[in-house]
Symmetry: C2
Subunit: 491 residues, 2 copies
Amino acid sequence: MSERPEARSPEARAPRGFIDRRARDVVAERTILAAVSGVYERWGFEPLDTGAFEYADALGKFLPDADRPNEGVFALQDDDEQWMALRYDLTAPLARFAAQNWETLPKPFRRYAFGPVWRNEKPGPGRFREFVQCDADTVGSARPEADAEIIAMAVEGLEAAGLPAGSAVLKINNRKLLNGLMAAAGVADEGQKLAVLRAVDKLDRLGAEGVRLLLGEGRKDESGAFTKGAGLNASAAERVLAFTAAGLGGRGETLARLAEVVGGSAEGDEGLAELAAIDAALTGLGVGVDRAIIDPSVVRGLEYYTGPVFEAELLLSTTDEKGQPMRFGSIGGGGRYDDLVARFTGERTPATGFSFGVSRLAAALRAAGRDLSKAARGPVVVIAFSPERMADYFAVAQEIRAAGIAAEVYLGGSGMKAQMKYADRRLSPAAIIVGDDELAAGTVTVKDLDLGRALAAKVSDNAEWRAERPGQQTIPRGELVEALRRILAAS
Amino acid sequence: MSERPEARSPEARAPRGFIDRRARDVVAERTILAAVSGVYERWGFEPLDTGAFEYADALGKFLPDADRPNEGVFALQDDDEQWMALRYDLTAPLARFAAQNWETLPKPFRRYAFGPVWRNEKPGPGRFREFVQCDADTVGSARPEADAEIIAMAVEGLEAAGLPAGSAVLKINNRKLLNGLMAAAGVADEGQKLAVLRAVDKLDRLGAEGVRLLLGEGRKDESGAFTKGAGLNASAAERVLAFTAAGLGGRGETLARLAEVVGGSAEGDEGLAELAAIDAALTGLGVGVDRAIIDPSVVRGLEYYTGPVFEAELLLSTTDEKGQPMRFGSIGGGGRYDDLVARFTGERTPATGFSFGVSRLAAALRAAGRDLSKAARGPVVVIAFSPERMADYFAVAQEIRAAGIAAEVYLGGSGMKAQMKYADRRLSPAAIIVGDDELAAGTVTVKDLDLGRALAAKVSDNAEWRAERPGQQTIPRGELVEALRRILAAS
């Protein structure tokens, strides 16, 4: 891999839509994944890592229809002419894995997974072409209790990751209810169904009045632009609105209200029975209405899912960069998809799961004031004066590390001032000076950099506090670790 | 992503050279990475994650020279016609990152990273096109102490990952010594230098006699095939052999012996001085000759590195699948590369680092008898008899999880026998039976599956032991967690 400087140097830049993540973000995401993994394993889900590539035909949607397909995925042709593509989510690889190993897997098969996924889309602010997802799925159980388990586990996972209890709620709906509603409202046409779903999806933004127009003939917005409606008659539109408004109160009340709107249609009744079983299981698991509700206005992903759908919504009101109040909204979702494994085997295989974006959850945690970046602080820095004394500096650093405290010897070529600046830049808690005097006397000088930063920030210039916690002290070598522990405990 | 079964189902298989990793392997690799990360952070190295893709020109070696380059990397053309390639190691992205952010980085910049890398090579047994590497590098320090730090940290990392102390040794060499040796032996031609390195690299396999022939006119092997030699005269060949044999004994002795062979040439003296400084720093760090030696026969990667080179070798004698004794050999390596950042900036930037393959280390740990797969065992399984009782089963599972023990309710559609088989397949420690009798009496029945497995394996059929540890017991519900803790503690 030897490489001489070339006549024309390449520009050092990451490809568009790909980012470098430094310690703060890496530590935050690892902390989340460790906490969530712990929860998922406690629920009996085993980890699975599949490769980055799948054959394009296994991914399904993205079958190459041109010489070089690039609709949504990163695809390339292998030596043997087969098209491969980087996974765009963790569900498609799971479906392939489950189909491939179905005979030998324990059934139902519960697995969780996390890792990068890739989307070949136009990058933009906050919109990346590579991001980390974390999924949990149960394949091979048609029971509504499998959905309930996923929901309860997702709630517990989000809380274990650091979301304060009550700051997120899982909203549950069921595609079968929607289908029952459509049947009751006399909607058979697929295009009209889609128009109804789209109208309902705008409830947050337009309110009931706007949605009523979109369910009927159409709506003119403030600019005068007209959006054609779904064409329902007034009573059908009211039925849909009553359906979306049924989500208030406890899960039992919601179910009772929904029964009035969609009950009687075969599919609606099936959906209601599933939700009732989910409700009972959630109650058995101790998941109350403060953490999981039934909300018929959730329609996202309904085209994809075949039964219950879930959406995790952050309830905290946060502020954007300009200090404006902002709804954080959805931080994850999932549902039942019984068709995915069937693509390979021809046999319908029940499956249900939940997925969240890890960096999106990290952003939510920051918005919730949960700072996960503490661990990203720098090591204690042993100042290096003289090349002849390096072995002594190394011995001091090793002593500190042996006590479990991060430490390093400065290895650059700069002087004292630059070394202090370096330690400060790394958010080091302390710098250690081991000059000739100290070596002769068996002492070390410890400089409390946290204190220095606090003083610089004028957090405190209290003389008494300074006396208690001297900015710089020369102490016997044997007391070094203890002094560092005091500094770290105060930080 | 909705997808209806297609007329012709795709075959469920992973692309060639990519593997699915189940719990055992995932847990082993995570355990290694957590331990090594802890060590690296204690040494002041910060984590960094770069994206999977780099621009092909930034990767250097793999500049597209055809419409679709595929020499060694997975490359594709972006919408804007720029070629991107998946990273083939973690060093090239670091060089790009360091060049891109040099002005704002703390210097020296110490970072560690782990993640998948991709090689577009012909897959084979044990040869994958995607694997996880773990690297630590210091950019911006020319001091030999930076090399020593990397070496000492690598040793500590491997031990923290689970390699018994003394089971691996870091072998250190220096390209400058080789260059000095070549100068002393009168070798100026690059092709001849390469032939000498190739001959030395065969020392393990051919011994000194075979290498002597390859250094001279050439060697005929048992099949009669002739390999042309490097063409050194006898005294030059002896000098090379003396060089490679200088690695016995302590680091100081080796250095003294090497000084006799390569001392006097400017570059040889420089290399000796660097190794002497590394030796002193390692001593200061408490790394003795049992963990790091100077071994001039290490030549791998010497074309790539510009100064010191390191190779971590596993000393354990292991056996292959057929029970034959096997040398595990190299499990990682590194060295100093001062040219890589210069590709972008034009300025030579000193850098040094160490890299190891995570699954290779996991295999080494298994060979060393360190089983990391314990955590891959299954959850306690609550047997499900009756759909009406699911909420009760869930409450029991929740109780167990609340005590920190993994547990799940069986959610398939099968009967008691199949459920027990399922629990056994998942390596569950116990199955819990909560039938109507138990519910009425406020009890649970606990079946010790570890014991069942032990008995099945005829490990023990001792009646006394069975009495102490009953295979199945019905106990008050309040004693459930305690009973499970006993079973887990005994496993």
